[in-house]
């Protein structure tokens, strides 16, 4: 929502904000200013430090390297845009407290009060950023095998942050590339599962009767399969790569969401606002998408965060068993598997990917906790009734 009464359009603060953080510092928002500054300095440092790779990416045909470089540019543009906008906002509302009042804004405020959840968001964003930036960040090629005898099982050091594995490959590089596999599988599979589940469940609930019966019996059958064994069977049939794993994980997980959403929609569809949506002649698909799903969405968001953790865990489990992503392509699961036989002699081989995996899973769980508290409909209602 924009205010029209922004007379001091070009104030010194606003100009100063062109350097991210400076405007905030001048206005006395020290914490945010320092953070914005650190962020932009780190980004610029990265560009300068890895200039060859940053600029070199555009002369390669590799999509992931293009993405990494573009992402860096976006990060820089984003921080400048954000600090400009934020300084403008702070100035406009000088004195008065600006509080969004939509239910989502209320939930956001409540979420920010939960420190653990906020830190987990930071960690998650950091990991995803590291994964995207892997081609720029990694000191070594994750698959390159140098002089094996001289380099195998080197402990963590300045040269090799996470040490090296039995083939002398740099584990830090492998861990970052492994993050791409694990994190993207988790996110994509969750999106597939939640999208299908939400649409399926809400259609069943809204139309009810026979439609509901048929659709939900299909779900019952689907749920009756033990998921992990189903996955084992499927990865046995199809050769496991990222796409196949995303599809398998996503397509086995949606029935739970469908059943859950159906319950939510059943209670929503008899509420007066649904009735009035029908009374103004809104077609069924718009009633579902615009009125029912948004009201049922907050618990889905909570389970979505948990689902990402579940998916990442499942992928790691499959890869650990040698049924998921196969070496030499690194994934956290197969990296842990590679180190499991040498835990005493070369603990770092399994420790770092395992630690990253654990940290990721914990972060998603804490994020889910935070979302649940922030989106609790009862607590929300108290604020706006």
């Amino acid at each position: 929502m924009r205010r029209e009464n922004a007379e001091p359009r070009r104030s010194p603060h606003r100009l100063r904000a062109l350097i991210p953080g400076l405007g905030h510092l001048a206005l006395g928002h020290t914490g945010r200013g320092v953070r914005l500054m650190l962020f932009s300095v780190a980004t610029i440092f990265l560009v300068v430090w890895r200039w060859d790779r940053f600029i070199g990416a555009f002369s390669t045909p590799f999509l992931d390297r293009w993405l990494a470089s573009i992402f860096l540019i976006l990060m820089l543009a984003g921080v400048i845009w954000y600090s400009l906008r934020d300084v403008g906002r702070i100035q406009q509302s000088a004195g008065e407290e600006r509080r969004g009042k939509s239910p989502w804004a209320v939930a956001m405020r409540r979420f920010r009060e939960n420190r653990l959840a906020v830190y987990s968001i930071y960690i998650i964003i950091l990991f995803y950023a590291l994964a995207i930036l892997a081609p720029i960040l990694t000191p070594y090629d994750p698959a390159a095998i140098p002089d094996v005898m001289a380099n195998r099982y080197l402990p963590p050091s300045g040269d090799h942050l996470f040490g090296t594995d039995e083939f002398g490959r740099d584990l830090f590089s492998r861990a970052l590339y492994g993050a791409r596999v694990s994190l993207s599988i988790g996110l994509l599979a969750m999106i597939i599962a939640k999208t299908i589940g939400t649409l399926y469940g809400s259609v069943a609930a809204y139309f009810g009767g026979t439609v509901d019966n048929v659709l939900m019996r299909i779900v019952d059958v689907w749920i009756a399969f033990p998921t992990f064994y189903l996955m084992l069977m499927l990865v046995g049939v199809f050769e496991a790569n990222i796409v196949v794993l995303v599809l398998i994980l996503g397509l086995t997980a949606w029935p739970g969401t469908a059943r859950f959403i159906r319950g939510e929609i059943l209670s929503l569809k008899n509420q007066a606002f649904t009735e009035s949506a029908r009374a103004i002649g809104l077609p069924a698909h718009l009633i579902i998408v615009r009125h029912l799903i948004p009201s049922a969405l907050s618990p889905v968001l909570v389970t979505a965060a948990l689902a990402v953790a579940g998916m990442i865990g499942a992928e790691a489990g499959l890869s650990y068993l040698g049924l998921g992503i196969r070496p030499p392509t690194p994934s956290w699961g197969n990296m842990v598997a590679a180190g499991k036989d040498n835990l005493l002699n070369a603990w770092w081989v399994a420790f770092f990917p395992g630690g990253l995996l654990t940290l990721t899973l914990i972060s998603f769980s804490l994020l889910a906790d935070g979302l649940r508290d922030a989106l609790d409909p009862k607590a929300l209602m108290q604020k706006y009734v």
């Binding site: 009042k101 939509s102 989502w104 606002f273 009035s276 009374a279 002649g281 809104l282 077609p283 009201s295």
Partner: protein
């Protein structure tokens, strides 16, 4: 004739049995006219409104009858065309505006939705049109209110916003189901003034449904009295209030307190309570509470017959008297 309801019957099919909420009702609404529908709570008034729009929730449905709107039978209309009637042909305002507005959308968006749907305006134009509609509903600072969420508005404002949603599609008939019941007295007066005013402006017909005979008498050209799913008396409002024929109508009017009447004229109520719709008395369903009832009334339900000019009444005793 704008709306012509013929022998409408709607029922809920419950585990306990069939509940006939509307049991053979016929009436007409002419363009630009205001018709009132009065009855105690639970007599099926709201179901009449929902039947017209074919919006009865499960496990209920319209069982038989015809609802002719501009000559087309709404109950046999394909769903696509029925959607166009809802909102653009017939608007409805519900009793609980607070619950009927979606809490997660701004008021302006909810009105703009109707405008985009039925008048095909682009998003931006629909929004400015929504602000205009809000202004026409007498909402101060309409731009600001359009950006508000329902929980930020007072009860009266919510009701006005609800009316704005109903009017945004420029309906030819506005069904107002207990439009003022949830509001306090001063706001009630404002809302009924508003309804009169927008009727002057937009020239639509109004079907006003309420348990409040005073409100209906104040607004309606003609009034229908409903009891346990049937009409018991219909007449021009003046005549109905001045010379009520049916004992039930007489009871309703006798139960209205008159300011300054003094204690020597005691307030008369109707003895007993509205019967359970699942277990209705035989014959005239009003007979257990009726002072005129005799054995004849327990046999067959009385038909709604002409009793005087433009005045119909469903009572054996009244017909005998005239």
């Amino acid at each position: 004739m704008l709306l012509s309801v013929r022998d409408l019957r709607s029922a809920f099919f419950l585990d306990e049995g069939e509940l006939w909420a509307v049991d053979g009702i016929s009436f007409d609404v002419e363009a630009g006219e205001t018709v009132g529908l009065v009855g105690e709570s639970g007599c099926g008034k709201t179901i009449v409104a929902l039947s017209i729009l074919d919006l009865i929730p499960h496990p209920g449905r319209v069982v038989s009858g015809r609802v002719l709107f501009e000559g087309r039978d709404l109950l046999r209309l394909p769903p696509e065309e029925m959607r166009r009637v809802r909102g653009a042909g017939i608007g409805i305002i519900f009793q609980e505006a607070a619950a009927a507005l979606n809490p997660v959308y701004r008021i302006g968006n909810q009105i703009a939705d109707v405008i985009r749907l039925h008048r095909g305006l682009a998003r931006r134009d629909a929004w400015s049109e929504a602000v205009k509609v809000l202004a026409a509903m007498g909402i101060p600072e309409p731009e600001k209110r359009a950006r508000s969420y329902p929980f930020e508005l007072s009860g009266g404002m919510k009701q006005r916003a609800m009316i704005a949603i109903a009017m945004a599609g420029r309906p030819k008939l506005l069904i107002a189901d207990e439009p003022t019941t949830a509001l306090d007295l001063t706001v009630q007066a404002e809302i009924s003034d508003l309804l009169r005013q927008i009727q002057d402006e937009y020239r639509m017909a109004i079907l006003i449904i309420s348990h409040d005979l005073e409100l209906v008498a104040d607004m309606a050209d003609r009034t229908m009295v409903m009891y346990t799913g049937r009409l018991v008396e219909t007449a021009d409002t003046k005549e109905l209030v001045g010379e009520p024929m049916h004992p039930y109508t007489q009871g309703l009017i006798g139960a209205i307190p008159v300011l300054g009447a003094g204690s020597e004229t005691p307030l008369e109520g109707i003895p007993g309570a509205v019967p359970d719709l699942l277990d209705l008395p035989s014959g005239c369903t009003f007979h257990p509470r009726c002072r005129l009832a005799d054995d004849e009334c327990k046999l067959e339900p009385p038909p709604l017959d002409d009793a005087a000019h433009r005045h119909q009444c469903a009572c054996y005793k009244v017909r005998v008297q005239t």
